[in-house]
């Protein structure tokens, strides 16, 4: 079988802005080209996320190493790369005295759509993102949320293969944020786009992405396959039960699970691979225990993130029940 080409390939990439080196010798391989996937780029402020994106777009010149995107060098094959991507920058980006429809039409034409098709796509996309009624208003009169949507619209108007989104939910209220994330998921799942989502909001990445790269201080400090993490989290259960639970630990061991009693009916359980939650429910019923709470771990990405950036030494309760770290196809 042919090895799948990575979407992004970084080899010892360093980027210097002025006198400061922002990215230090980054090497990793992200994603697989040609599939509807989403990759999250996480990191605290100043970690180098936007610099990495701009380097991939050819805006910054690497001071050492190289970056390949969609199989092309990001400097030498810049035109081929840019023909296949859509980019939504983090900051405001528009022409204030242009209407949304003419701005999108212009950008679509620059991307290579014939004039008539560009106009049609501009209308279509603006309706799709919910700006249909205000498409003839000048962009300068738009609210912050509308500007975000207009920025998103321009990034998809030409139907790119790869969508690079830099903090797409910045400044959005909860409902607009949900709408934005739904649109991003739709681009990935229904239209087969590959999404590179740069965010400092873990929830956004967790909700949309299949893998995540964590940057800190210009270095890749973790690369996680979120699908695998989710599967692992399904086996990491927090319980609150009522009743006599002193024999529960033994029964869990018989099932191949590990359980730690934290007192007052609180348990942390790691289920073995292949054993589903139904087995745990059956076990609890057999012991006659009432279940107050049963949750999968929902904060795993936050813990991974905090550990990766050095703000958390270990997950609480981890000494007994270390969830298995998922091997990644990149690495540091």
């Amino acid at each position: 079988m042919q090895p799948v080409a990575p979407l992004i390939e970084l080899e010892g990439l360093s980027v210097r802005l002025g006198r400061r080196e922002v990215l230090h010798q980054i090497s990793c391989r992200l994603g697989a080209a040609g599939a509807g996937k989403a990759i999250g780029l996480l990191g605290p402020n100043g970690a180098g996320k936007s610099t990495l994106i701009r380097t991939l777009l050819g805006f910054h010149k690497p001071s050492a190493g190289r970056a390949r995107i969609l199989g092309h060098d990001c400097r030498e094959g810049s035109r081929q790369v840019k023909a296949r991507i859509g980019y939504m920058p983090e900051t405001d980006a528009f022409v204030a005295n242009m209407t949304a429809v003419s701005f999108l039409r212009l950008l679509a034409e620059i991307s290579g759509l014939p004039s008539e098709a560009a106009l049609e796509k501009a209308h279509e996309v603006l309706y799709h993102v919910g700006l249909g009624e205000s498409r003839y208003r000048t962009l300068g009169t738009y609210s912050l949320g509308m500007k975000q949507m207009a920025k998103f619209a321009q990034s998809i108007v030409h139907g790119p293969e790869l969508l690079i989104l830099d903090e797409p939910t910045n400044g959005l209220d909860p409902s607009a944020r949900r709408r934005m994330l739904a649109l991003i998921r739709e681009m990935k799942e229904a239209h087969g786009m590959i999404v590179l989502l740069c965010s400092h909001l873990l929830g956004d990445v967790e909700e949309v992405c299949d893998e995540a790269v964590i940057l800190n201080d210009g270095r890749v400090v973790h690369h996680a396959n979120l699908e695998e993490e989710r599967r692992a989290n399904r086996r990491f259960v927090e319980l609150e039960v009522t009743g006599d639970d002193k024999h529960l630990a033994g029964s869990l061991r018989e099932q191949g699970a590990e359980g730690v009693n934290e007192g007052q009916g609180r348990w942390r359980v790691v289920m073995p691979a292949g054993v589903e939650l139904e087995a745990l429910w059956a076990l609890l019923a057999r012991h006659g225990l009432g279940v107050h709470k049963l949750t999968h771990r929902r904060d795993s990405l936050e813990e991974i993130f905090l550990k990766a950036v050095g703000r958390l030494q270990r997950t609480p309760g981890e000494e007994a029940l270390t969830p298995k770290e998922v091997p990644t196809h990149g690495g540091l």
Binding site: F59, A93, V95, A96, L106, L113, P114, G159
Partner: protein, 286 residues
């Protein structure tokens, strides 16, 4: 099906060649410029002098109309290098005013709201962007410069006959080359001003002052230091000397067309450096 009913579909059709994409800028910009009343008024006003010159050309070729007129006046009605030099001077001034009105709206709005990353994340280089914006001015200034100039030349050739054309073909080439050089210089000044100053009125004033202030400065230096080379600082005067050479008109004292050409090239390079420095998708503050 109506667009609002069908939802989003990725575009999978044929894409246009690269050169056509640059033309998207002029297409959109001209439409917007023609919506500005002042630009249209100045443009219309710029056609009066070519019309007057056309009447002059017509008169000079109608011997029957000139009979009985004063000999000095008849001698004045000659279509030659001097006639086209006066025409070019007037139209060059109109071109500067038009560029001052239209130029600042080309780059400044893109910089004011950070639109450059959106353009440059598409298959478009910075050079393509500048060329696209320059084409807007080339398209706007051409109808008031070399196009009427060549029409006058064609009119004179048609009325005076092949003999005149054979003897004066150099005038046609001079008009074209001279105006193209002027449009490029004025276009670069307008784009650089627009890139330097994001407030359109100030950027427009900067375009005008580039020509008038430098002219004034060159005159002051010339008067105080009694040096002729100061005309090299004056883009209008330098271009005027080049035009004289192109149209075969007697040269003035002082720097020749080659020195003037070099001075203008240096100015153009400096303006290009301003554009190179300011037109970046992201600004790096070190």
């Amino acid at each position: 099906m109506a667009v609002y009913k069908r939802g989003y579909q990725r575009y999978t059709g044929v894409k246009t060649p690269h050169r056509d994409r640059m033309l998207a800028f002029p297409r959109h910009a001209w439409k917007r410029l023609m919506e500005q009343r002042l630009v249209v008024l100045v443009m219309l006003a710029s056609f009066f002098w070519p019309l007057a010159c056309a009447v002059f050309v017509y008169m000079s070729n109608r011997a029957d109309l000139l009979q009985g007129l004063d000999g000095g006046f008849v001698a004045f009605l000659q279509v030659n290098g001097n006639f086209f030099l006066v025409f070019m001077n007037t139209q060059a001034a109109a071109a500067v005013i038009l560029a001052a009105l239209a130029g600042p709206g080309l780059v400044a709005p893109d910089l004011a709201n950070n639109a450059l990353p959106l353009y440059l994340s598409r298959p478009l280089s910075r050079l393509d962007y500048v060329m696209g914006r320059l084409l807007v001015l080339v398209g706007l200034l051409s109808p008031v410069t070399w196009i009427p100039g060549l029409l006058l030349f064609a009119m004179q050739s048609g009325m005076a006959g092949w003999g005149w054309l054979a003897a004066n073909w150099r005038l046609g080439a001079g008009i074209l080359l001279g105006f193209v050089a002027w449009i490029l210089l004025v276009g670069l000044v307008a784009l650089a001003s627009s890139a330097l100053v994001r407030w359109r009125i100030i950027a427009g004033a900067l375009v005008l002052s580039f020509f008038f202030v430098l002219t004034g400065a060159a005159q002051i230096i010339r008067q105080i230091l009694r040096v002729e080379w100061s005309v090299l600082m004056d883009p209008g005067n330098a271009m005027y000397r080049i035009w004289r050479a192109l149209l075969g008109v007697e040269a003035l004292e002082g720097p020749g067309p080659l020195a003037c050409g070099l001075a203008l090239v240096v100015m153009a390079v400096l303006l290009a450096c301003v554009l190179e420095r300011k037109l970046r998708p992201v600004e790096v503050v070190s």
